[in-house]
Amino acid sequence: MGNDNYYLGADVGSVSTNLVLLSEKNEVALTLYLRTQGRPMQTIQEGIKVLRSKIGKSAKIIGVGTTGSARQLAATLLGADVIKNEITAHAVAASRVNPSVQTILEIGGQDSKIIILRDGVVSDFAMNTVCAAGTGSFLDQQAARLGIPIEEFGQLALEAASPIKIAGRCSVFAESDMIHKQQLGHALPDILAGLCQAMVRNYLNNVGKNKDIRGPIFFQGGVAANPGIRKAFEEELGQPIIVPEHFGVMGALGAAYLAQEKVGRQSELRTRFRGLQLGEIQFNARSFECSGCANRCEVVEILQEGSILARWGDRCGKWANAVGKGTYKGKSQEGEQQGA
């Protein structure tokens, strides 16, 4: 079976770690959605184990792309061919799924963004600034407080007869407003629908400020699973909202497409993928404070069975660059400085 070649895309975010396998024929062969739970390294390894058990023995990974806030960590562990920021990855995935898409609304666990495309190219974007009020974690938290599973949140919101108004600017205000309304006796679906509307309002005022939102509009990211939010967007924008089939893993899908672009272009290029057995390898991370200068950078070290794989976090790059060139000799460097 020569067609068993796949491109792997990995999106390691704050809340979820997503893996996508893309076949050479541009078919999505497998998607995995795992909770990161603050342990990105273990989650990536867990994902690779699951992936290995699901694909055939003859399957081969011929290209790897990583994205998400832990894209560097993921790239080190997996051996990535492409490392890209989330915005480009999301835009690439959406425009490959539907080349006519002009707006992408993306709401993830800890951040939200809007991407404006024209003719398949990003022409503007924005990410949330200081405020994370309109993101998935806040919905998670509120669902937990009200004792309803997050999966049922949106469905309940759709049952609302008359959504109530909730202050959406800040999650602290929103929560206290919700509690007051609930103590007055408002029905749960009305409160949930009100929260959805408040979130959408906040998103459009904050992230979507001054953006030329035109259809077709894609809604992706984990929160797109929530039909309540989708409906609130449709009402606010007066346009249909399309939730693509793989809405939850679009970042990873984009990374896989980018890997395909890169590896596919140069056929002689061999992937740097470290192999499916990496689920079994022992990886460790540790950090230390460098005392070389007053900046006292927090340096992170990734170890594979005791040997250093990568380092980052230092401003001057002396630790990062020392990897692979023997160990860094702090002593001799200090000597040079004294002599200078």
């Binding site: 989330e86 480009t88 003719d119 974007f125």
Partner: protein
Amino acid sequence: MKIGFPRALFYYDYFPFWAGFFYHLGIEVETSPPTQRQIMEDGLKKTSDETCLPLKLLAGHIQALKDVDAIFLPRMVSMEENTYNCPKFLGIPESLLSAVPPEIPVLSAVINWRKGQRQVLKDLRILGMQLGKSGAEIHRAFLEGHEWQQHYQDSRGGEWDFEEKMREIEYVTRQTTKTRPQNFSVQLSENHQNCQKDLKITLIGHSYLVQECYANLNLLQRLREHAEVNLIQHVEREDVEAHLSGLRKKLFWSHAKQIYGAGNKFVEDPTVDGIIYLTCFGCGTDSMVQELLAQRVRKHHKPYMVITLDEHTGEAGLVTRLEAFLDMVERRKVREGYVSAYGECLDSHSNTL
């Protein structure tokens, strides 16, 4: 006598004047070291939560000045006719006295060009009396300072490197008592301003943010690795004035005026591929000027991004935004190269940036 000069806020625009002034008077000037973590942390502890990052950094730099006879904190009210500096400049030194170590005295002077040179000299003579200098000496020192400032401003533009220039000036100000170290040499940064770069990006923002490479997480250097970078600080005053038209009312803050005028010049420049506005959380003047510029940018369909700084030390957020912005500018540039048969850009119908 040795005067401590904090490397923050007014340092970035007016240090050459003060360096020349004190040099003429034979007073040694010691600047605080470049910002590092300890300076930032010390600054945060000694200022109110309401104030902006540059002022917090100033508080940190004040504390970093050791072994000096006095700390110099001028009240720079106005630098030219009909303009003022930001009110936070005007509150110095009183707003920062809590950051000054108790055993070190504070020297201050009012600079207010709004009332003309006569008033500036009069105010400087008050400082002169504290320093035991005559009125004539102060006048000559003023002229020397003026010359240094002029020289500094004339030297800007092109291959110019801020830090390098400042090192030169700082070196001279220390020379009054110290001997020249054997191996002293001004290092030319090799990796800045490479004119071969395809992309041309303008970085807009206050001098004390753009050149503050610790607080801005090395933004300028990062940008220069990918693009030719223009700064508004290098735009001549006449050029700034020429681009202020279209405003219904005059801008009376010096920095706001410079940012809007010079920013406008780059907005209208068709060779500029993208504009990044660097601001800090809670900046009053930026909140308005940023919006004014954004409106102008939209008219010219230019990629535009605002980066808001605060006490961040995690680079991930900045790096993601910067990468995505550069990706966008690059991809857009490639596409806009395809001019349609009708001779206009494909996206000219769009109002999007």
